[in-house]
Symmetry: C2
């Protein structure tokens, strides 16, 4: 009738320490947290035991739960809250957990000191203390033994009760912690941290269509043209060049310019209608070039410190080889035809979605994994994933984990312009970065609300948002109506608010803002359906601004992370002001979101010591000021420059810095 | 190199529905939620899938995860949020979980309707719909088949595209849900719900010392005296009579009256110093009576609808048989002596704590479990556990679960006047009720803040707080200084704010408020150390008030739960006003917390329709009023009655209720 206590399935029923509310943790530890290499992980835990005994513990981290972990002793913050920090020093999937135990030494120190102070006889306590010190000495590292033995000896001497302080200090406490037996330790569940390369957090994306990269308006662009254009992208300071799909394009139901339902024979089609007789996701479009060209492109990019990002769109044109080789990977209708993509009543007849419920799902998943590894083997380390929210979430969790296990330096950008639950779930499932709703946040209120939400630590722990000024699908009305000043404003906001930002160029820097029709967010003559040619040397190009923004971002660590973002009060409701800090510098960015009128605003800087002058350097105009006080008036003119990016320098020299002082 | 997707350890890699944020859940499902029999459990979940497909799901509940569950279809609330309710109909540990799948039928209905409306040819869609209806008919319950077959036939008829509405309605949708194949369903983790008897939630405790129950001042009380006193307790309307430990009391280091360090030979000692040569936790104190007396007590209680609650204090006097029989259950010091309980520099030498880290912990745990089952077999179904926070939390989780598995009607009251983390962890570990900090919440602000915190649904899901006016350890300064009005105020607050309340009597109703010394919360001449005699017929007794309060509590379901508690604005800061509702009635309680002066206050009733008169009945004075408007003035006089308990009746008769109307 009675079950043995061991039946509760716990290795050590004598464990007395309780661990609760371990942070960071995504959904109670169901999903990994994310960090980049050397980005500290501050872990906190509510830790307590029954009775009056003191508790101690370590934050442990290791590659797997079974490895011998690195240990950082937990420090008490307040009440039951304890904290410790570790700094991941290798890429990949790692684990952290807490181990905690009754701290017999601290309990003894506490009790003995109080009893001695109250004049209680502590002869037996002294014996206990000695025994603990001697036991610890046996377990201790060789260099610690002498100190522990000396402490034990001190407790043996007559009058030791009055010289307890010899053993009560933090030095002995530290040695005792290190040599702790950790008897009946409670061990928390292990939590995963995915340690990713720095560009997972700090990244500047530049999207371009290879077929529009030709300097010769008489012919479409090729991979060789892209290779030549890399220098331009690098000069602008971007670190990742992202190419829409480079695969053969289907002919069946091919779309014409401006999404026309019927294409002329010479129309190139949409690169997202992947697959033709020439091949599918593992092939290069013959008109773009050869494998040798692709290799040369990747090598040139590397020499310029650029990453090449490919688009991964798991869908097939009706001409994709898989349609014939693997009919079971597609859903069929009662008349034998294949289900096309649809958003009723619309049907997208040039696209067949893959059926993630296929009876052959295992083979399908492996084939898709193979698409990634195929391109990884060809030097690609960054992927922009098209519409991941229309493919199985479970598949993404599986495939990204598999790739991370093999290639922890690979990153994935999720293009899920879907509702927050969906976008967030994809981030939890492993996507490195996620396109955000930035394009549609144009007023101060909505900008502040949105960025406050996505930069909460609990969100940043799993979702890193990338803010894009535009994409081939998103030419916002703000850009359409606001002209060049609007583009300037959006570039400065994206580059300063988000450690990861991106532009789709050259449309962006050349301020191509004509929509296909009023009310549409599609570009007129979109590169999605036709070849375009761009004059990169146009005098109105925003290239110098983009270059300056990327320079500023690289120079100032404040812009390498979103954790410190804080909005500042500005009297004009059309002015967004924010502060970021890092590397010992505070950066204050002030942007008018009114592309039409001059704005004058009072800016509040509540964090400066308003009683002393401080130096302010506007990195956009290169002007320098000496300010006093926490309030400053600014004038922002969209015709010249609607923004400031200030470095605040509060270091004050005083008479004591002068060389003859002392 | 490639792992088969199956290696992710999931039974169905084709599952496409994501389940997040299942509520209620304590610490993400680590601990059980608590309900009483027939108390509804409203479960919500964020449920969604990739793409445009519709999702459907069931809330499932069953005794174990492997049982065939009862199913309640989830209803969409808003966005991805879905809800369903189940009503537990059996005591014990049960499980609930979510199963969800792609709702092919709803997806088809949506798409086909939109396409038909847009004039798209849906011939193939009609074939798909027919096939789905026919498949479902095969799986459906016999009584549903005809309707499904008729719907399928309707889709075959010419012109069906224009009569789609025949199959789109909620009736077919319901049949299709019931007959759903639940293909590739996603199943959430199972969450536990502990279903307990109603008194786990709604309970009135009365504590009394058996040895002070004698009607004859010349001799101490016995179990027979307690049996005779049960009628008094039942008359006052309490449902549980709780007895401090009834075991033999140790002689070694026995405490004298008022906690004197040395006891005289005739001093009875503290009942919590358990164990002597006569026995330990499984024995009756010989002076209290025999097993026959105990049986008679339990039977008499049952006949009066009273539960007998025993005190469980897992500690031993130095004379407890376990000290000699199981020395390994205690911690020893280097000099061979046993560690006494201590709170340095104090040592409690009449008490040995048990060592939950004993090498023999398994045997110890079973022995303690046996203490519970021993008394359960003797008719005890309620336990008040002394200082559970000084014993291993893991032990409590284990022992309470074991008992709940065998005797789901047993309840446990946790006496953990410890910091919130500790008290809450004990509740999560399985304790049915917990003493709260109510005794120390005497001002309006602290009362409101405290009760708002403990009645948040996330807290109520695992912790039910019992509010006590006093205990043998807690005679608050508020009671000491406030005299009889203070006692009246505290009784009314406890009885109305908390579905579970308790008093330690007869000290409470006889307004014994003399402390052992100024600044102490201990009673002078406390029953903990000596026998007392009480004149239950004293004219100043609060017995009539307690009786009325318990009557009101029984009559009005509003007082049977804390879920509806809401505070109301009152202009006087010394007036607490709250509202509870249930069983179709709204109860408004107004209490002045000033035991000395008359208070006049304006009360706000924002929930009434202020434009029409409504009936108000004060259950304490039995006065009735007709009020109009949302603001009322009240006068509360501590000399007569510092409180009102109003039933609000808003039912309005109108001319249409008159019998000749129509």
């Amino acid at each position: 009738m009675f079950h043995h206590p061991g039946a509760m399935g716990d290795s050590d029923l004598r464990s007395r320490v309780v661990l609760e509310s371990i942070r960071p943790a995504v959904d109670g530890g169901r999903y990994p947290i994310k960090r980049t290499l050397h980005e500290p992980v501050e872990v906190s835990v509510q830790m307590f035991a029954d009775g009056h005994d003191r508790v101690a513990g370590d934050l442990c981290f290791a590659g797997t739960e079974h490895d011998d972990p690195l240990r950082v002793p937990l420090r008490k913050v307040t009440g039951d809250l304890h904290c410790a920090v570790f700094v991941p020093d290798a890429l990949g999937i790692q684990r952290y957990w807490i181990e905690a135990w009754i701290d017999r030494w601290a309990t003894w120190c506490d009790g003995s000191a109080k009893k001695a102070a109250a004049g209680v006889d502590i002869a037996v306590e002294l014996q206990e203390g000695m025994a603990m010190l001697r036991d610890a000495s046996v377990r201790a590292a060789p260099q610690h033994r002498a100190a522990l033995d000396r402490a034990a000896a001190a407790l043996k001497e007559p009058g030791a009760a009055h010289r307890l302080e010899l053993v009560l200090g933090p030095h002995i406490a530290e040695l005792m912690h290190a040599a702790s037996e950790r008897r009946h330790a409670t061990r928390s569940e292990a939590h995963e941290v995915w340690v990713e390369p720095e560009r997972a957090r700090f990244c500047a994306w530049y999207e371009l269509f290879p077929r529009s990269a030709s300097p010769d308006p008489a012919r479409p662009g090729t991979l060789q043209d892209v290779t030549r254009r890399l220098e331009y992208v690098a000069e602008l300071g971007f670190d990742t060049v992202y190419l829409p799909p480079v695969h053969p394009i289907g002919r069946t139901k091919r779309k014409g310019p401006n999404n026309a339902l019927v294409a002329a024979p010479e129309d190139p089609g949409s690169p997202w209608a992947i697959g033709s007789a020439e091949g599918g996701h593992l092939a290069l479009h013959p008109e773009l070039g050869t494998w040798e060209d692709f290799r040369a492109l990747v090598e040139r990019a590397e020499s310029l410190n650029l990453h090449v990002a490919l688009d991964v769109a798991f869908q097939c044109s009706p001409d994709h080889p898989w349609v014939h080789e693997h009919p079971e990977w597609f859903r069929h209708r009662p008349d034998g035809s294949i289900h096309t993509a649809e958003n009723p009543p619309k049907r997208y007849e040039d696209i067949y979605p893959l059926d993630f419920e296929s009876p052959d799902a295992g083979e399908l998943w492996n084939a898709l994994l193979n698409v990634f590894t195929f391109w990884i083997e060809r030097g690609v380390r960054s992927f922009r994933v098209d519409n991941p929210h229309t493919k199985s979430f479970r598949f993404w969790a599986w495939v990204i984990r598999r790739i991370k296990e093999m290639h922890p330096d690979v990153i994935f950008l999720s293009e899920a312009f879907a509702r927050p639950n969906v976008a967030r779930h994809l981030a939890k499932s492993g996507f490195t970065q996620s396109y955000g709703y930035f394009p549609w946040k144009n007023g101060r209120g909505e900008i502040e609300e949105y960025f406050r939400e996505i930069t909460r630590p609990e969100v940043l722990d799993y979702m890193r948002t990338s803010s894009w000024t535009n994409t081939p699908d998103i030419l916002t009305e703000y850009l359409q109506w606001g002209g060049r000043p609007a583009a300037v404003i959006r570039a400065i906001l994206a580059a300063t608010l988000s450690a990861s930002w991106g532009v789709y160029g050259p449309a962006f820097e050349l301020v191509d803002v004509r929509p296909r029709q009023a009310g549409s967010e599609e570009y007129l003559d979109s590169e999605k359906y036709q070849v375009r040619h761009w004059n990169l040397n146009a005098s109105h190009s925003l290239a110098p601004l983009l270059k300056r923004l990327n320079e500023i971002r690289r120079t100032y660590p404040a812009f390498h992370s979103d954790r410190t973002l804080e909005f500042l009060p500005a009297s004009d409701p059309a002015v967004v002001a924010h502060r970021k800090s890092g590397g010992g510098r505070t950066l204050v960015t002030v942007v008018s979101v009114d592309p039409h009128g001059v704005r004058e605003t009072e800016l509040e800087l509540p964090f400066v010591d308003g009683t002393r002058p401080y130096q302010v350097h506007d990195l956009l105009s290169d002007e320098r000021y000496l300010w006093t006080g926490q309030r400053q008036r600014l004038r922002l003119d969209p015709a010249s420059m609607p923004a400031r990016v200030f470095v605040i320098r509060e270091e004050h020299r005083s008479e004591s810095d002068f060389e003859y002082w002392t």
